[in-house]
């Protein structure tokens, strides 16, 4: 099935020994010159790349406190060394968070610190050579920016900040990653990651309306570009057709229908994900985010709600106000933006939805906390709402819910293995191995508690799991959307 060895969950060590260089071959395809141009980056590796890379590093040191403080503060205590899913799944020591940071830190030390300038050997500083640059390209594309290391670091050092900076430096010298940069270009030209133009979206949504009508006998609407709607829904474009994503989108529509709240999606801003974050580019992230502001203004909506998507929710919750705010033209009674889970949970608490839990009786469900929702955002008004609200929704729609082991959920959750711009077929080995810790936890509850399905609230998690889960002896349909569970349980029609 694969040209690499898939970890055997029964025998694979909990804490593996290191094996140097075993993932040195892993690197994603380079972006083509025209994709680079769309984002304002050089098309291929420039001649004076070393000078430009170091200038860029200096610029970022002055612009991002995190970058400067984190490069200085690490004491090499080792606390993070066994926390990264890519290390656990591959045993390559450069996938230990501190070692990944050190790939960049040793160059920082060489050119920006006294000790590294005058005593490079002593502090492990090295010159920025082509080999070092290639190593950056390889290993900074083996980080999904999931922030698990930052939870466990005594100084909160977040490898995501380092890998974002590294990718920005790589872009600035012409070494862009095809998957991310091509997608950002599509958002600028067409409006979403998948390059689905407005008419195709309209078609798809009409098809959904017909499907739901056939299934339920109720006319649930999936509106596009409707001016004057109350809510603008921004959802990952995978929700328009991928499985099980689309079942979640069907669920959102049913919730809006039952709540009696008018809503619309936008063909101009038909993408929740913001890959600008993955490549560490504030400017590109801002350009993508401003499309949402423009769509909200053009459509005259009063609220913005985001669909199920992990990194998207991080950019939405934590950055949208910064990048594209202030949103003083929206209804001040609601947070901007809101997560669809916040929206649905609010309705459930008010008794506005009738839910028939028995509709999900064929499942024993567990919940995968998406990394960026868990560690980089919130839902509701209390810290930790991002853990409780999705679980409360699942419990309100299912009779059988079981959590995975405590050290693999909440803010200790493991990334799915495909986040942070790595959800591409040219990184399949990395994705399969990186999923190992989550697969092991799932296996445990499957065997001990009879869990049959794992629910997620992230388009990347859903796509990644459906792709890699067969390698570990599960089947694709064991991954479900949280709003798919809602969709199954919701009783449409007048409230009884």
């Amino acid at each position: 099935m694969a040209d690499f060895e898939v970890p055997d969950l029964k025998t694979y060590p909990r804490l593996p020994h290191i094996h140097e260089g075993v993932m040195a071959h892993s690197k994603p395809f380079l972006a083509k010159p025209e994709m680079q141009a769309d984002l304002g980056f050089p098309g291929e590796l420039i001649d004076n790349w070393q000078e430009v890379a170091l200038d860029k590093m200096g610029e970022l040191l002055g612009k991002y406190r995190s970058f400067q403080v984190y490069l200085d503060s690490c004491v090499k205590c080792g606390a993070c060394t066994d926390k990264c899913h890519y290390f656990l799944g591959t045993t390559d020591p450069k996938n230990m968070p501190v070692a990944r940071q050190d790939l960049l830190r040793k160059v920082y030390r060489r050119y920006f610190t006294f000790a590294g300038k005058y005593f490079p050997k002593l502090v492990g500083a090295v010159d920025l050579t082509k080999d070092v640059l290639d190593e950056w390209y390889s290993y900074f594309h083996q980080c999904s920016q999931c922030r698990r290391c930052s939870v466990f670091c005594p100084y909160g050092i977040d490898t995501a900040e380092i890998s974002m900076a590294a990718r920005e430096i790589l872009d600035s010298v012409g070494l862009g990653q095809k998957y991310c940069n091509e997608i950002i270009g599509k958002v600028f030209k067409i409006g979403n990651n998948l390059g689905l133009p407005g008419p195709a979206l309209k078609d798809t949504l009409e098809g959904l309306e017909e499907d739901v009508l056939d299934d339920t006998g109720v006319e649930v609407r999936y509106p596009l570009d409707e001016k004057g709607a109350e809510v603008l829904l921004i959802t990952p474009s995978a929700d328009f057709f991928a499985e099980p994503h689309v079942d979640g989108l069907i669920g959102y529509g049913k919730v809006f229908h039952q709540a009696g709240i008018s809503w619309t999606m936008s063909s101009y801003a038909s993408e929740a994900a913001n890959f600008g974050m993955f490549i560490g580019s504030y400017e590109n992230m801002r350009k993508v985010a401003l499309r949402i502001r423009k769509a909200a203004l053009d459509l005259g909506v009063k609220r913005i709600v985001f669909g199920e998507c992990g990194h998207a929710w991080r950019v939405a919750y934590s950055f949208l106000n910064t990048l594209a705010g202030p949103f003083d033209f929206l209804d001040p009674r609601y947070p901007v933006p809101q997560h669809i889970c916040e929206f649905t949970w609010d309705l459930i608490q008010r008794g506005a939805l009738t839910l028939d839990k028995s509709a999900n009786d064929d499942m024993v469900v567990t919940f995968h906390d998406s990394c960026n929702v868990a560690r980089a955002s919130r839902m509701g008004d209390k810290p930790g709402g991002q853990f409780h609200i999705p679980r409360e929704i699942i419990k309100a729609t299912c009779n059988h819910f079981v959590d995975m082991p405590i050290d693999t959920i909440h803010d200790s959750t493991f990334c799915c293995g495909g986040g942070g711009g790595l959800l591409t077929d040219d990184l399949m080995e990395l994705r399969v191995k990186g999923a190992m810790p989550r697969m092991r936890a799932l296996k445990q509850v499957a065997e001990e508690n009879g869990v049959t399905h794992m629910a997620a609230i992230c388009a990347i998690c859903k796509s990644q799991f459906t792709k890699v889960i067969p390698y570990y002896g599960f089947t694709m349909d064991q991954i479900v959307s949280v709003h798919q569970l809602v969709s199954n349980a919701i009783v449409l029609g007048a409230k009884q």
């Binding site: 406190r65 984190y70 502090v123 504030y282 801002r286 910064t322």
Partner: protein
């Protein structure tokens, strides 16, 4: 005035200037570098007071490290709390009269040297024995431990093995503070101890010891989780908005 006294007096002035000046520069640099985005590791406090508590737990109890690895936490705590008591005890050589609380902690401060050295040896043992930690260690990481162990052992030796002329030492230190130099006892252990301490002071602002100011400036730990309620905008990011409608 002996040559040794002059050399050590000058050494400590230089070391103090480098420590204070270097740290002040570093702190200034951290403070003036903007954090353009809200990146607290969540769940994070939603109020400023909550952030103060989070930072206090981090600095006083090493909360994240405790969650992470009990061995590193244990050795790290032994070292840092040992060092804290030892440093507090040393205030008796810088103050006249000695403050009451410094007087009271004296017995604890003396034995804390053992906790400090034990913690350091534990951390060093991990660095040598655990393959993951060995892999990430540079020569400077071993040297830093050697330096700290050397300081601890030379200091403890003067307390428990071979006493130095502590009255003259205190006169020397007070003399440095009030610019009225007094002779330094030419005791081998003492000279080693002081030279290592001065080295540590000089190395502090150009080494990983910057984790001391760094932790307070770590955006994942010191930011309030309120991005939806309050717009956060760095000056350089605000510049980008000039062209916006």
């Amino acid at each position: 005035m002996s040559a040794v006294t002059v050399v050590y007096a000058l050494l400590f002035y230089v070391a103090t200037a480098i420590l204070v000046g270097g740290l002040a520069y570093r702190i200034y640099k951290y403070a003036k570098t903007p954090a353009p985005l809200k990146i607290p590791t969540t769940p994070a406090p939603v109020t400023g007071f909550g952030v103060v508590l989070r930072m206090f737990r981090e600095v006083a109890f090493f909360e994240s490290l405790f969650r992470s690895n009990k061995w590193i936490w244990l050795f790290g705590a032994l070292f840092h709390f040992g060092l804290f008591l030892v440093l507090a005890r040393h205030l008796r050589y810088f103050t006249q009269p000695v403050w009451l609380w410094v007087y009271l902690i004296q017995p604890f401060g003396k034995y804390a040297a053992f906790a400090m050295v034990a913690g350091l040896l534990g951390l060093w043992g991990r660095r040598l024995l655990v393959d993951r930690v060995r892999y990430i260690s540079a020569p400077s990481d071993h040297l830093m431990l050697a330096l700290l162990v050397g300081i601890g052992l030379s200091g403890a030796s003067m307390t428990f093995v071979s006493h130095t002329d502590i009255v003259s030492l205190k006169a020397f230190i007070l003399g440095l503070i009030y610019f009225d130099w007094q002779p330094l006892p030419a005791d081998g252990l003492l000279l080693i101890h002081l030279a290592l301490v001065a080295t540590l002071m000089i190395v502090f602002p150009i080494s990983k010891l910057l984790h001391v100011p760094g932790v307070f400036f770590s955006p994942t730990r010191n930011q309030i989780d309120n991005p939806r309620e309050k717009r956060h905008l760095a000056p350089w990011a605000a510049e980008l908005e000039r062209d916006r409608t």
